[in-house]
């Protein structure tokens, strides 16, 4: 048992270190062929950095401002079935980014439901998509924070006869303000590292962020030195932003997301307004997308089966990798050294595209670019999913460990029976859930596949992007419906597994 544990643990940590080291090596060894260093520091680079930061700050501000009233209304009293809304808000964070992009285009584009004064391409589209992606996230986090006001404080406020204004001023506002800082930085960071949204909605060289610049340097100009430079700048800026938040702050954020306690009563009228408003806001892009998809007969492109096969293949492998990796990070008996904490932290904050760029440059240098496509995409997708499934797995394993560890020792059980009879039945439901979740994340990924994929490599999101690129929006919307249906069935499977897990508890 112990020996097996140690092996898996060391393997996991070793692979993570190796990934970081190889990515760094790729950056150093990049295939070269670039130009004089000074020639990269021009007004365009300044513009790109400026735009990366500017749009991120703007997106985060808008998301937060919109989230405040919703979170405030929802947190007034716990209501029956609020877990359902919470689950829905979490869902928005997992679904393919490209779906939101297409939704925004279907909603605000040329033939959309709402016509913008200008074009949706450019900053307006980018902001709309970022808000659609992050509003649920922000609402969820703030709601959670506000629900933590102790009941006795609320009762005290009632006894003191505090009106709405005073309660807001003395009780809720301080909490909102405190929670908003980290949420703001987190969302700004996510938007700073945004790739799919900016690539698809940017509409020209004026709206480019560092991550898209990396992609363009590799794909448009085949300038690996430029790609390396932009990726390093991107990573450095992201790390600086994390420094501003502080490591502790980030960890607090993780801990903050808990399943909210449900109430006995149904939602109040105010809460109904908030719920319906939120649902209308968040579902409208998907509704517009569906409407767009239904506008024409379903006509599948010849490459769809290939794309589906590739996407599913990658999702299967990467979800297995993600779960194994997560397991290796949370086996019992692991000593939480400072180094291992840094490792988890590093994987969490270094933008996936920076890692991908480093690894891809290394493969280019070694002449493996074509062969490395599948392994690279699978691995980076697994790395991206790992932090999201780590906590629930860890909690489950530790519970099993503390409950049964002594018993199995007393009984003198051997490794295999302990695994099979004790751990497996307890961990299985969470593991199924983790597998499904990682598969959904991998199915929706476009950035890594776009950067690494060769000419004839096509996943479902890439195929959708290509039809968007030729402005075949209806076709893109139809294929997106297929992708969303796939994700939905996987998530239902995950929920079913979780339900069994709850029932079994």
């Amino acid at each position: 048992m112990i020996a097996g544990n140690r092996l898996l643990r060391r393997l996991g940590a070793g692979l993570l270190w190796l990934t970081l080291a190889l990515a760094a090596l790729g950056m150093v060894l990049h295939p070269g062929g670039g130009y004089a260093w000074a020639s990269y520091f021009d007004s365009w680079l300044v513009r790109v950095i400026w735009f990366s930061i500017y749009q991120a700050l703007l997106s985060a501000t808008l998301s937060l401002l919109l989230a405040w009233p919703f979170a405030w209304a929802l947190s007034q009293t716990p209501f029956r079935g609020q877990w359902l809304l919470a689950a829905f808000l979490n869902l928005a964070f997992i679904l393919p980014v490209l779906a939101v992009v297409l939704g925004v285009v279907s909603l605000f584009g040329q033939n959309g439901w709402v016509t913008l004064p200008g074009t949706v391409y450019g900053l307006p589209g980018i902001l709309l998509a970022h808000v659609a992606l992050n509003l649920p996230f922000a609402t969820r986090l703030l709601w959670d924070r506000l629900s933590q006001i102790p009941d006795h404080q609320k009762r005290l406020a009632e006894v003191l006869g505090m009106g709405l204004r005073h309660r807001l001023r003395w009780l809720e506002w301080p909490l909102i303000r405190m929670a908003s800082g980290p949420v703001f930085v987190l969302i700004a960071l996510l938007c700073f590292s945004s790739f799919t949204v900016i690539l698809t909605l940017g509409g020209g060289p004026a709206n480019t962020n560092l991550e898209v610049a990396v992609y363009q340097a590799l794909k448009y100009e085949f300038d690996s030195r430029a790609a390396m430079l932009y990726a390093v700048l991107h990573g450095a800026l992201a790390l600086t932003a994390i420094g501003a938040l502080g490591q502790g702050g980030l960890l607090n954020m993780e801990a903050a997301v808990r399943q909210p306690r449900g109430g006995q009563r149904g939602p109040s009228p105010l809460q109904w307004c908030a719920i319906l408003g939120l649902l209308a806001l968040l579902l409208s892009p998907y509704a517009a997308l569906l409407d767009r998809a239904l506008q024409a007969d379903w006509h599948w492109p010849a490459r769809l089966p290939d794309a589906l096969r590739t996407s599913l293949g990658i999702a299967v492998f990467s979800s297995v990798c993600a779960v194994l990796l997560a397991l290796s990070r949370c086996l019992p008996g692991a000593v939480r050294t400072r180094r291992s904490r840094w490792l988890d932290f590093g994987v969490l904050v270094i933008p996936a595209m920076v890692l991908t760029t480093g690894l891809f440059l290394l493969c280019l240098r070694l002449g493996w670019a074509r062969e490395a496509t599948w392994p690279l995409i699978i691995w980076v997708n697994a790395l991206m999913a790992m932090p999201l499934i780590l906590q629930p797995l860890k909690a489950r394993i530790q519970a099993a460990h503390s409950q049964y560890h002594r018993l199995t020792r007393v009984l003198g059980m051997r490794t295999w029976p302990v695994l099979r009879l004790v751990y497996w039945p307890l961990v299985r439901p969470v593991m199924l859930w983790a597998l499904a979740l990682s598969a959904v994340l991998s199915l929706g990924d476009m950035g890594v596949a776009a950067l690494v994929g060769q000419v004839d490599f096509v996943t479902l999101p890439l195929l959708i992007y290509q039809s968007m690129g030729s402005y075949q929006m209806t076709l893109a919307a139809q294929m997106m419906v297929v992708l969303l249906a796939l994700c939905a069935s996987l998530l239902l499977l995950a929920e079913w597994a979780r339900g069994r897990y709850r029932a079994g508890r």
Partner: protein
């Protein structure tokens, strides 16, 4: 099929039992392979001729082909690369990935004296801004007027990926020289969007997103032939128009180099040349090729061009100049 095969290469356990004769793989740009482009007809004609399989792989646009070739190097799956233009040949040759074509090119018509032992020219054209004359009345008569003295909105293609976009960059450079950056900055104010490829730009224009789009002097012939309308016109500029010769070449690492050469010879013979004007809407290099009637009304403008050596030497600086101006 190729997609599937390549995907499987990385997962050998699934690949067992899959084998077939290699098709002739041709990397080209997207509009060439679209259902209304020349690809399908040329593929059919050649396949009937050679009893083999031709597999077109469509990339965003012409310049993307060069980048792809750089990326794949000697491992490229392509046998032929089709759709680079005359401006890029010096830079492409430097990669040392191509074989000589051994095709007799003496009878071909081209916009300027041009000869090469690696690249086979298959059609040519002159870049031009196309507009809808029912919507636009004050049409500029020179590039200078379009840039400095017009309020028409335009869409053009990204010169980093697209040969028309690159053509505009070279056109601007040949007209404005050292003042090109200033011209770009001025023009930028009326640019609706910069697209990755020609197809995207043209379809956006047709949806009414801009007054003008960068295309070719021969583009109106398409609308005359298929839509029976002359409302789309190419603006003729007094400085002359930048020319583009589209070329194809064989990769030296191809495992069917003779067949690939045979395809290039086919490309400049009548069966293929007859297809090109009415599908790619460019001038054929064979005078005797069939052309849609509308081609008779097409203006043949003054030709501007840089040697591909000059382009190779300056392309990056000119791209940076454009990028800096276009992102402000």
């Amino acid at each position: 099929m190729t997609v599937f095969k390549t995907a499987l290469m990385a997962t050998p356990m699934l690949a067992a039992g899959l084998a077939s004769a290699d098709p002739l793989t041709i990397y080209t740009y997207e509009s060439f392979v679209s259902e209304w482009g020349p690809g399908p007809q040329i593929e059919k004609a050649y396949e009937a001729d050679c009893d083999c399989e031709v597999d077109f792989v469509g990339l965003e646009d012409g310049v993307a082909l060069l980048n792809r070739l750089r990326l794949e190097g000697e491992d490229s799956q392509a046998d032929i690369i089709l759709g680079l233009d005359d401006a890029l040949i010096a830079e492409t040759k430097k990669l040392d990935l191509l074989a000589k074509h051994r095709v007799d090119l003496s009878g071909l018509t081209l916009p300027y004296d041009w000869e090469d032992d690696t690249f086979v020219p298959y059609d040519y054209g002159h870049f031009a801004f196309v507009y809808d004359q029912t919507r636009v009345d004050s049409v500029p008569s020179s590039l200078e007027e379009l840039v400095y003295d017009s309020d028409l909105s335009i869409i053009y293609q990204d010169p980093r990926v697209s040969t028309p976009g690159q053509g505009l960059m070279l056109w601007m450079k040949s007209v404005f020289g050292d003042e090109a950056e200033d011209a770009w900055t001025t023009l930028q104010e009326r640019v609706v969007t910069v697209t990755p490829g020609w197809s995207e730009a043209y379809s956006l224009f047709q949806e009414g997103e801009s007054d003008m789009v960068l295309s070719y002097t021969t583009s109106p012939a398409y609308h005359m032939t298929y839509e029976d309308t002359d409302k789309y016109q190419a603006a003729i500029f007094s400085e002359g128009h930048y020319a583009q010769i589209e070329v194809a070449a064989v990769l030296k690492n191809s495992d069917q180099i003779d067949r690939a050469r045979d395809f290039l010879a086919f490309l400049v013979s009548n069966p293929a040349q007859d297809v090109l004007p009415g599908t790619n809407w460019m001038w054929p290099v064979l005078d005797s090729a069939d052309k849609p009637e509308a081609f008779e009304q097409m203006v043949r403008p003054e030709t501007l061009y840089f040697s591909s050596e000059t382009v190779a030497e300056n392309r990056r600086d000119w791209l940076r100049e454009w990028r800096n101006a276009a992102s402000q």
